[in-house]
Structures are given as structure tokens and as C-alpha cells.
Symmetry: C5
Subunit: 88 residues, 5 copies
């Protein structure tokens, strides 16, 4: 599970029909200090995340589990919105 | 899910028989500013993508789901054609 | 399986309902000399790991197996607490 | 799916019994200009690839699908021999 | 499948109960010239590998297949001991 920040959206009219109705968010991976790390990815939002929010993302089969769409070609999803990070 | 740009095609006559009929596209991964990022990969097109188009790719099992070919050795597929990216 | 050190926790009130009750730990990947390597990730603790402990993490489906939650969107878990590393 | 070039072979007498009979080829990943990229990996050949040939490799479950050996510990396989790459 | 060299062991008393009885080996990934490449990982030995031996490792589900433990949180395993590498 990875930290990310929602920074935008993607619109794709021509797409796999099992992706219809999914919300595709551009998500910037972050390091622990909330600095950008690597390139943005496209994640399916499953928790109502908004632009600017700090989120938890998962990859692979976990993405389809989160979306409750095991027959959709999803490999990354947003599964939580971060309230607080505590580093000890 | 990853942004990419279709830049070419691959022809392979000798291949796994479950790949027969698939369209293999050379796809250049892009960063959010549409600049090339990393090396091109070979993706199975499932949405009728053309050369030069900006596309959404998935990896792993999601690739076979997109191709509706669970018994084919596919691990990357094109699942959407990008109309618009909005960064906020 | 990867070495890591538990360095913090994440609180996310709005999350996938199948993640309710999981303990999300910020885990810093380590190299063999116990020096930080790469960025921290978020792992589901399944063995009662505490802050500062050296742990073994797994990725992918193995994370859901460790959590005994095959229907939860988990892709990384802590599966062991390291007592000793011997390099020969 | 990734481009590679077959550069050698590996012999392992002591191995998982479900790997007996597989042909293990050292494969150098290539970039789009056919230049080496990253370190060689070991791929199970499923299409009769020879030394020096340009091939298509897959990772993960797709490797076992290609080998028709779902109970063998295979995570990379050669699934095609490249005839032609066209970059537009 | 990846080349590695067994360089040590890990002891973890508190661990997932489905890992009890597995032998956890510190394995250094190698490049084709047998030089270290990247950081050591922890692999479950399934072939009786000893310290100093050159081995073949697999990742993901293939690791559980090798260990004959589909319900254990394993994502990397040693599946063969290298006798000879031939680069042509």
C-alpha cells in the first residue's frame, strides 16, 4: 500500500466496457515527507477521494477487490483517505 | 494503470498459439507532462488504439481480463484511449 | 520477502470496509546493513509488530494470505519479526 | 510484455521437480533500439527460441500459462520470436 | 526467474504460523557476471540450497507453488541450484 495525492482526473470515452462508471484519478506517489516520488499513476477511486487529498493506493489484484469488479481490467485503486500519519 | 503513447507495432509469426489474433503495440510510457519515461513495452491492444494515441495500460492479470483471454500469456494491455487529462 | 523497520502508523477513517480493523504500519525498507533503502510503504501488520522492530514484509496476494482477508484490498503485510540475521 | 535477446543458457540439476524438462534461457532485456537495458533474467522458453534471437517475454502468472505448467514455479517465459518491429 | 547467491539466514520466532518450518535465506541478486545487483531479499529455500551457492529465485505466486504452501504468505523462493551458466 502506497501513499499518494490525488492531483487530477482522466477522461477516456473509448475504454474497456467493464471500466464504465469507474472514476479514474491521476495520483502522485509521495514519500513519507509528502514529497512527490516517481511519476503519477492512474488509480480507480473506490472511496470518494477528492482532488488534493492524501490517499492510500493498492496495486494488482487488490485493485479489483477494492473496486468490487473482479472482471474489470483494474490494477491500481484508491482504498483509503489518510487522516493522519505518525512517524515515531 | 499507466499512461502511454502507441509508437509502433511488433510482428511475431512464431508465438504462443493463444496470442494469435492479438495486436501487439509498442507503447512508450509517459509521465504526466506527456514526456517519455522509461523504456517502451509491448501491450496487447483491446480498444482499437492507433499509432500516436495516448492510452491507458494495465499490467498483470488485468491484461488478460482486458483481452478476454484468460488462457493467453498476456501481462500488459491497452484498456482505454485518453480524451483528456486534467491536473488541478 | 523484504526486510523493513516499522517507523510509524497511518490513520484512515474513510477506507474500504474490508480494511476496518487492520493495523496500517509505515514500514521503511532496509538493506542488509539495516540502512534505509527506498521509500516507506504501508503494510498491514499481522504479527503484532511494534514501532522500531525489524520485520519481514511480503507483497501481492501473499499480503492477503497473511491477513486472512482474501476479500480485502491488501497488497503488503508484515509476516514476521526478525530475531537475528546472520551473514556468512 | 518485454523485448529481450536470448544470450545464453542455465543448467540446474537440483531444481524443483516441476521445472524438469523446461529450457532455461538467459535473456537480456532490450530497449526499443535493441540496446541492453537492465540485467539479464532467466526465462523459460516455450517457443523454440535460439541463442541470439529477439524475443517477447512475459512475467508472472502469464509465464506459467505460456509453459502450460500452472503447478510449476515459473514467473518469466519467452512467448514469441520477433520478426519485425515498426516504429512510426 | 533471477540469479542470486545465498549469503545468510534470518531467524524469526514470531511469524505467520504458515511460515513455521520454512528456511528463510538471505539472497543477494546477481547480474550475469555474478556481481551483486540491488539489495538482498529473503527467499524461502525449497531445494536445499547452502550458503555461498548460486541459485535461481522466483517471485510472486510462483514462490508459493515452489514451497507447496499455497496458504503461506510467501512471495519469493529458491527453486534451483545453478550448475553452469553459458553465455554465447
Amino acid at each position: 500500500m502506497y501513499l499518494g495525492k490525488v492531483i487530477g482526473t482522466v477522461v477516456a470515452t473509448r475504454k474497456d466496457e467493464n471500466l464504465i462508471g469507474t472514476k479514474l484519478m491521476i495520483t502522485q506517489p509521495l514519500d513519507i515527507d509528502s514529497k512527490p516520488k516517481g511519476e503519477p499513476i492512474i488509480a480507480v477511486d473506490t472511496v470518494g477521494a477528492g482532488i488534493g487529498e492524501l490517499v492510500i493506493c493498492v496495486k494488482g489484484t487488490a485493485g479489483r477487490i477494492a473496486a468490487r469488479k473482479m472482471d474489470a481490467p483494474i490494477d491500481i485503486a484508491i482504498v483509503g483517505i489518510v487522516d493522519e500519519i505518525t512517524i515515531s
